[in-house]
């Protein structure tokens, strides 16, 4: 890809050819020139889309109705949604279908550059892209699905009519998709079992001599596995050519930033520093803290101690709500001294880690408060720990008791437990919010404990300063910086597009 500052010229003819298909395997990289602006905008928007997919995947059953509906809305908002029919009529506003597909194509390849570097990044990227692909493939008309298969050389062998007859009973008994009639009517494909692991694992298909026999309509799983494999190989290849890309100084900061960005508020920039006094924390913990933090705070007060996992999760949260380093040190110190730790030991052992959290020690990384995803998925608590997400990590009986103690209504409790059973932990927390704040609908999609705090303060009518700086995470122009800033306003989230285009380097100074 060549980059220049002028906008590209591209004839509509070839564009129509190139983007005639609604869905692609991203086999060929784009071959045009684009501006740096487009490069950056496309990348960030796709990243937002993938982050949405990640979030929805935690809160909803994948591919369920609510999931697809929400994903559709978000795709539309980000100008990624396109209708399967290639319709180049100029819509009222916004880009054409062609333009959307082009953006999809280019943005995918840009993100490959950012996400090929480590095993973790690759795994994450592949997972979200696969889910996105699955969502789009399911959206195609049956005829388009068939075209897609043929166009992409997925020539799995069809079994003959004689074979079908011989295997009739076995086929009918192994796949929900096949009844006595459909076996005759539908094509059945013979695929090596290594290419259909999901179907093998769940025994949803007939397996013989290392081949699975798949009715046409189940071929989706195969396609998706194929997509995953291709993408995985492509990323490995991309990683090898990365040094060349990194040598381009215009791109390197952006790519680095993309792979570290938590797109949406990361609450790392401290607003309202010092606006919260230590005396307020106890009452705030009951009113505005999410359940996880309330629980940690309570056990801290009771035991005058917290293990490392709890200190990290809670300490960073407190930083996010505005505690200054001095306040934090005072807070932890006064609590730990009440327990088995004397002042001296605290200064020696624990003070260091508090300062570390604020980026004042070691490699001086300013750690960001944990998002819900992080709390739920990583570092599960074990015996003696109090951190984690209570909706995920607590035994339901204990959770119920706790909610009763916190005076949540019985109906509220049973709704919460239902959500927990369905593994919708963040929704359960939202329900907890609704119950404790006496509102019908939380009106936000919870994905960060600090977000909970801010929304709570909003709902309770307080914290006008907080209100001003809060942004809805969905605005396309928003690009958070990863680093700390003494003057939050300078790196604030309200952006001008002009500012963004003009000085890319200084913009990402802190990254």
């Amino acid at each position: 890809m060549q980059f220049s500052s002028r906008r590209k010229k591209f004839t509509t003819n070839s564009q129509a050819e190139l983007y005639g298909e609604p869905l692609q395997f991203y086999g060929q990289p784009p071959l045009e020139n684009i501006s740096l602006t487009e490069f950056e905008t496309f990348a960030v928007e796709r990243l937002k889309l993938l982050k949405t997919i990640e979030n929805l995947g935690v809160s909803y059953v994948k591919m369920s109705e609510s999931y697809t509906k929400k994903l559709g809305t978000e795709s539309k908002a980000l100008n990624f949604l396109y209708r399967p029919e290639a319709d180049d009529r100029k819509p009222q506003n916004g880009p054409t279908e062609q333009e959307k597909r082009r953006k999809d194509h280019i943005s995918h390849f840009i993100l490959r550059l950012a996400y090929c570097q480590t095993e973790d990044l690759r795994r994450w990227f592949i997972q979200q892209e696969v889910d996105l692909f699955r969502y789009r493939f399911n959206d195609l008309h049956p005829k388009q699905k068939l075209e897609f298969l043929h166009r992409n050389n997925l020539q799995y062998d069809r079994i003959t009519v004689e074979e079908k007859k011989a295997l009739n009973d076995k086929l009918v008994n192994s796949s929900y998709a096949l009844s006595g009639i459909t076996v005759v009517e539908q094509d059945v494909y013979k695929v090596p079992f290594q290419d259909a692991l999901d179907l093998v694992r769940t025994r949803k298909v007939y397996l013989k001599a290392g081949y699975v026999y798949i009715p046409h309509q189940d071929i989706v799983t195969i396609v998706i596995n194929d997509f995953r494999t291709r993408l995985s190989k492509a990323l490995a290849l991309t990683a090898r050519s990365l040094p060349a890309v990194h040598s381009d100084e215009r791109l390197q900061p952006l790519l680095n930033h993309l792979s570290h960005a938590y797109v949406g508020q990361d609450y790392s920039i401290q607003k309202n520093v010092g606006k919260i006094s230590l005396e307020q924390i106890d009452s705030l913990s009951g009113k505005s803290f999410p359940l996880c933090m309330r629980q940690i705070h309570q056990s801290l007060r009771e035991n005058h101690h917290l293990r490392h996992g709890g200190r990290m999760q809670y300490g960073l949260f407190l930083k996010g709500i505005g505690l200054s380093l001095e306040q934090a040190l005072q807070f932890w110190r006064s609590e730990f001294i009440k327990g088995k730790v004397d002042a001296d030991k605290f200064d020696k052992a624990y003070a260091y880690s508090v300062r570390h959290m604020f980026g004042k020690e070691g490699k001086r990384t300013d750690y960001t408060p944990y998002s819900c995803m992080k709390v739920i998925l990583s570092n599960a608590p074990s015996q003696g720990d109090h951190h984690g997400c209570p909706f995920r990590h607590s035994d339901p009986e204990l959770l119920k008791q706790k909610l009763q103690v916190y005076k949540v209504s019985p109906s509220g409790i049973s709704q919460i437990l239902e959500l927990v059973k369905g593994m919708h932990y963040q929704l359960a927390c939202q329900k907890y919010f609704e119950q404790t704040h006496n509102v019908e609908d939380a009106s936000f999609s919870l994905n960060h404990p600090n977000q909970y705090f801010i929304e709570s303060q909003k709902a309770l009518g307080g914290g006008k300063e907080i209100k001003r700086e809060t942004e809805a995470p969905q605005k396309p122009q928003e690009i958070p910086t990863g680093g700390p800033s003494a003057a939050p306003e300078a790196a604030a989230n309200t952006q001008d597009e002009a500012e963004m285009t003009e000085d890319l380097d200084s913009f990402f100074q802190d990254a």
Binding site: N173, F193, Q194, L197, V200, R201, T202, R203, A209
Partner: protein
């Protein structure tokens, strides 16, 4: 057949004898070298040894059969495990740039352990086994062997007695060795039917339609269920509530039939629990495998022909043609075979050995003596069976080597 009293205290004395005169090194190497089709296959294989006093060493690797022999005779391991084939020689893994040392291939393996069945056997528990519950292993082998061959298309399966309370299966096909972690886990899940922890009462749930794999497995289970569950485990004795009804019928098979009929009658047209009898049979008899053992490419598993330190029994391959008569208590112990070595030779043996000596004149006399040694012991038939297994694989290696040389245009 007496197994000759085995005492683990004697291991330090007889292990050297075992490794010097009885362990079938040439067959072992023949196996793990896989015909030399892939370069460095043997050299990059990880072995791990448990030495005296529970000292455990990993990342052992060897360049030749000779080196393997010398090292094992020097270290006299109590236990030997086989791991994966890595990207580099395991014993040099510290010199490799971090992240590049990776497990690449390994046989697909399964481990069936009798302790996983404790909730459905009343004759023994924990590490104990007896002829009554050994039937579970027989059932497991039948079901899994059929599935791996017929459903998955694998051909080269080596079933091995673990030495105490279970069996292992080594699937040695090339396709199996190259399977990814995801594929191995998918195969293991496909083969799993019994799910649940100690807290779960009903561990098998069947829904319509019943998959052909389950049907095939049921055929095997139904063959053994009457004898195993009804007689040997006396399954229906346990339910006191049924005693009343079965006062007149003592025979377990009849009782089972009565039970089934009664339940069917009660069920009527309800769809619920319509497969209860199948589910019960499967819960009692269907193989329980540890998915984690099969999943990992780098997982280390006990090696065939290694000794089990607690029982002294050798981990011998099981000839499926004689599966019904396989008796784990008849498997030779290391004490037995060492004793057999010291037996004075009979006249016939002397004549036979003279014949073979002439034939093997070119070979190193030490090696030929060794070859003759194990043949004089109870180990012989197991090594012979292992040879047959290797012959079967060798045919496919030959094909591969020819293909390769054709490609390289070697003439």
């Amino acid at each position: 057949m007496p197994s000759s009293d085995y005492d683990s205290a004697c291991l330090p004395d007889i292990l050297p004898l075992y490794y010097r005169r009885l362990f079938p090194f040439s067959q072992y190497y023949r196996w793990l070298n896989y015909g030399g089709v892939q370069k460095n296959y043997f050299q990059n294989r990880e072995f791990s040894f448990t030495l005296k006093d529970d000292i455990y060493v990993r990342y052992q690797s060897f360049t030749t059969q000779n080196e393997l022999e010398k090292e094992m005779q020097k270290m006299n391991p109590y236990k030997i495990d086989i791991g994966a084939i890595y990207s580099h020689r395991p014993n040099q893994h510290n010199t490799v740039k971090s992240g590049t040392f990776q497990a690449l291939e390994k046989e697909l393996v399964f481990d069936i352990d009798m302790t996983d069945y404790d909730d459905v056997r009343s004759c023994c528990s924990a590490a104990d086994i007896c002829p009554k519950c050994w039937t579970l292993m027989t059932i497991a082998i039948h079901i899994l062997d059929r599935a791996l061959r017929d459903d998955f298309g694998f051909q080269h399966l080596l079933w091995v007695y673990s030495g105490r309370r279970g069996v292992h299966c080594w699937v040695c096909d090339e396709a199996a060795r190259k399977l990814s972690v995801a594929a191995r886990s998918a195969v293991a899940e496909y083969l799993s039917l019994v799910k649940g922890s100690d807290e779960t009462v009903k561990k098998v749930v069947l829904t319509d339609p019943i998959h052909p794999f389950i049907r095939e497995s049921l055929v095997v289970v139904e063959r053994y269920f009457p004898r195993y569950a009804l007689q040997d485990q006396d399954l229906l004795h346990v339910r006191k509530e049924l005693q009343q009804e079965f006062q007149n019928e003592k025979k377990p098979e009849i009782r089972w039939k009565l039970l089934k009929d009664e339940a069917k009658r009660k069920q009527g047209t309800s769809k619920k629990n319509q497969h209860f009898e199948k589910e019960i049979m499967l819960q009692y008899c269907y193989p329980r495998l540890d998915v984690n053992v099969s999943k990992g490419v780098n997982h280390l598993l006990k090696s065939p022909f290694s000794v089990h330190p607690k029982t002294g029994r050798i981990s011998v391959p099981i000839d499926l043609k004689e599966l019904e008569t396989f008796d784990p208590f008849a498997v030779p112990t290391i004490s037995l075979i060492c004793e057999e070595l010291d037996r004075p030779r009979t006249v016939e043996e002397d004549e036979k050995s003279k014949e073979t000596k002439d034939k093997e004149n070119e070979k190193d006399t030490a090696e030929s003596r060794k070859i003759r040694d194990y043949k004089r012991t109870s180990l012989a038939k197991y090594v012979k069976y292992f040879d047959q297994f290797l012959d079967g694989m060798a045919r496919s290696w030959k094909g591969e080597l020819l293909k390769k040389s054709d490609l390289q245009k070697d003439f």
